[in-house]
Amino acid sequence: MRGLAGLLGTFLPFVVLLLSCWGPVTGRGLWRISLLLNLVSWACFVFLSAGFYTGNIPPDGLASSPLILAGHPWSEGLGLQWDFQSAILSLAASSVIVCFHFLARRKLEISRATTAGVCAYLGCLLGALGAGQLMLFSIFFAGSLLPRFIFTGADSRGAGINAVRESAFLGILALFSLLLVVLAFSAPFKESLSSWFQLSSSTRVVLPGAIGLSLLLFATTIGAGIFPFHGNARKVFELETMERAVPLALQPLFGFVILFRFAVDLFPGEFQSFSPYLQGFFSLALAASAVSFFGSRSSRERVFWLQQAVNCLVAVGFFSLNRKGWHGASVLLLFQSLVFPFFLIVLTCHERRPALPIARIAEFPAFALTTAAAVLFTLFLPVSIGFYGVLLVVWSLVEHREWFLPFVIVAIPIIVIGGITTMFFRLGGNRSAENKSEFQDLTFEEMVAIFPIGIVLLLLGLVPKVLMGPMGVSASALLKSMGIQV
């Protein structure tokens, strides 16, 4: 039953795509149907996630979809399956898109392409999160590219078009490297197609695992838009409005799913060998991101570098290959899939308004509260679940006293101290100073877009054990299944 809910939740957004293509349903009608279907999809993932709490599915267990997408040559069938982490991430992604419907109602009513693009993108993301095999993941990843380019490119001009074009090129490269890994290293192709990858004609020499791992990391870094391919993610922040960046804030989920789900499974030996170097690499990248964040001049740049920093922390935790690190990385992954859309929604609201002097901010309580909350949650202070994620990642490093620990420890205060003094008072600082129109508090639709995610983030920060308990069990189970001692 729970698996069926997951399946329904994944494919419902695609119905919006079909309806958009059909024609008769347009404007407000299409928006309403899209909202309704996304709400049903969200409810499906609530039901699926609740299964892990009610004991219906064990915290370290899996909920499998009843629909087998392909049989032969897959021994166990090609289908969707959700562990606790992927179910919760799917729920988070679904919640963000539901809230996005309220934020961008006007845009979605006008542009059918945008509505279709956003819903198809969500469907592909949900499918990728539930994909049990790399092949299925690659299909959903490929499927996500086109809708993504449509909804970011629709009505774009100048820099926006260039951003879409460059992202498209890199996305295709990532897909190509993923397909290479699927064909050369993953079951069931590994045995049957290995002769395709002979390096020598005399004896059968298959591609070394290090190359496979490199290809996978290449796809991951492009897919997630993280260092050293962060330029790909930066394009998002060059769009005319931040509205469209909200769904794209979920993009790192694609990349990190590759790492968490498939990388260790496919290349266990190589992973053990390369992990310390990669951990050091991402620690340095974290320090660089923190410094860039500190030196940023606009809010958009700050959000971008902050997202990079959190991505690096996720990677550092992941490459630690121990329970605390994985647990922290999993928590941070969920944290960033909620907090950055939340921040971007608030930033969009800021960019829609003229500048407001600090002395007047208390006259607009909803605006002031959401602004302060956005900063507090984003900077992983103790009222947000990100605090516990960062704590666990740092804890996993402190125990081993690695050489890169100081970089991680120094990066955090740079972000948090620099962030609170700049992000609050200069939030949306890049908007036109000529706009002198009357300032208004948040509209009802903006509040509906902001408050659900804000309340969830606050509750998770105040009672972290609700989420972190099952997530820890899930992370331990995943590590154990890969043969890593917890």
């Binding site: 605390k324 647990h327 600090i358 002395a359 208390a362 302060a372 507090l376 202070l381 103790p382 009222v383 605090f387 516990y388 704590l391 666990l392 740092v394 804890w395 402190v398 125990e399 420890i409 955090i412 205060p413 948090v416 101290i417 609170i420 003094t421 008072f425 972290p464 054990k465 972190m468 308990g469 820890g472 069990v473």
Partner: protein, 450 residues
């Protein structure tokens, strides 16, 4: 859950409930605002808890799990040592609520934030888990960042921005260092403060934390600026929480590093002496009453380092007295610096305040200096000479204050436009007198109980 725990839980939750309560916070001010009612209730709750903590000498504990699978718990415990400080802190927060001007910008927000600071202060003092303590310190920094930022009027926005950033930065760094130190020292156990394995790194980090927590005037100009420019209620809340931080870090000596080496103590002693000399010397060049009296809290907080530096027993009693004394003393001088000495009540207030500052026998200052002096005598001639010189400097400063207050024809400007000046005399001077008498009584009881 027994009654004591229920009372403790109520004590912890009351200011948080007041902060998020939708009921009107009485922005017009007055004696009975929501914040002041909560403070009075908390004082009453502490009196009720006193039968267990003081009379029976027991410890009340309470804990809650933050994250399952790790020792990330919020462990709170209340003993006689913490009880005394919290009682004094609550009385100071009550005064802080009263001191909030009904005409200040963002007054409702200020009252909410002072309530949050009150909650953080108590949680921080009672917390036994190193990570939770660090997290609470970070949160307190966030609260003060917004409190200071919003409390300033438009003319002083730049100063408020500078002070709030520094306070937040300091609290965040202290909190972060506390977390890292806690994980390093107690990560293999339960993260609770306990005797450390005396690693050099851990000891060094703790020493840094103690020194950083004390606002030494050489590198903490923000502290004197805060006393001079911020509204009285905000300053008093800040000094109360800062005293809690200093108390927490200095009291860890007895729990974590009871066998601290003499070289390390010497380092604290030297920094403390330098800090106190610099603080007290700014008093002579003060242009306003607020500047003059405002240098004394910094002086006393620097003396905490001196106290730890000369300590012999595990419990640094003089440091405890300082942390008990400084918040109340700050509240009193903030009022003394703006009053016009017009009525009998105000004159009595000033006379008693100067008697306390001078250090007459029985007063907290006397106990502080006598404890440090006795240990200095034990430690030899050099320590004794330094102590005598420090005391002489302090005494001269007191004579100078008395002269400027009562004898000079050219009286000092108050230096601030304060609403306290026109406030009810009975509330401030009367409560101030009560606070001074209570302070003397509390230190005398603490001297015998601890």
């Amino acid at each position: 859950m027994n009654l004591d725990r229920a009372l403790l839980l109520l004590y912890v939750l009351l200011p948080l409930v007041a902060a998020v309560s939708p009921w009107p916070k009485n922005p017009r001010g007055g004696l009975f605002t929501l914040g002041s009612i909560v403070s009075i209730s908390r004082v009453l709750l502490l009196f009720l808890l006193g039968t267990t903590v003081i009379s029976s000498g027991e410890r009340i504990t309470m804990s809650g799990t933050l994250v399952g699978g790790y020792p990330l718990d919020l462990v709170l415990s209340l003993d006689a040592y913490r009880y005394g400080f919290l009682l004094m802190a609550e009385l100071c927060f009550l005064l802080a609520h009263w001191m909030c001007s009904p005409t200040a910008p963002h007054r409702t927000l200020m009252r909410v934030l002072i309530s949050l600071a009150q909650a953080m202060c108590a949680l921080f003092v009672m917390s036994d888990n190193s990570v939770a303590t660090g997290a609470l310190q970070i949160l307190a920094g966030v609260v003060f960042f917004y409190l200071i930022r919003f409390s300033a009027d438009e003319k002083r926005e730049d100063v408020a921005y500078s002070i709030s950033s520094r306070v937040y930065g300091l609290f965040f760094i202290l909190g972060l260092v506390m977390i890292v130190w806690g994980v390093m020292e107690f990560g293999l156990k339960d993260l609770l403060f306990s005797r450390a394995t005396s690693s050099k790194t851990g000891t060094f980090i703790w020493l840094c934390m103690v020194v950083l927590s004390v606002p030494i005037s050489l590198w903490s100009r923000w502290f004197s600026q805060a006393i001079e420019f911020l509204p009285e209620g905000v300053t008093l809340s800040l000094v109360t929480v800062l005293s809690a931080v200093v108390l927490k870090f200095s009291s860890l000596l007895s729990v974590v590093y009871p066998d601290l080496q003499w070289k390390q103590k010497m380092a604290l002693y030297v920094i403390g002496i330098v800090g106190s000399v610099f603080s007290i010397s700014t008093l002579f060049s003060a242009r306003t009453r607020r500047q003059m009296l405002g240098s004394l809290p910094g002086f006393f907080l620097s003396l905490v380092l001196v106290s730890v530096g000369v300590s012999k027993s595990n419990l640094v009693i003089s440091a405890y007295f300082i942390c008990l004394f400084v918040p109340a003393f700050t509240g009193l001088i903030l009022y003394a610096s703006v009053m016009k000495l017009s009525g009998t009540l105000q004159r009595t207030f000033i006379a008693l305040l100067l008697a306390i500052v001078l250090g007459l026998p029985g007063t907290p200052v006397f106990l502080i200096f006598s404890a440090i002096g006795a240990r200095s005598l034990d430690l030899g001639v050099t320590y004794t000479l330094v102590f005598v010189m420090l005391w002489l400097l302090y005494f001269s400063a007191n004579v100078y204050i008395c002269r400027r207050f009562f004898m000079d024809k050219r009286t000092l400007d108050t230096g601030v436009d304060s609403a306290l000046e026109s406030g009810p005399t009975v509330t401030y001077a009367g409560y101030g007198l009560f606070l001074m008498c209570f302070l003397i009584l509390a230190t005398q009881i603490a001297w015998r109980v601890l």
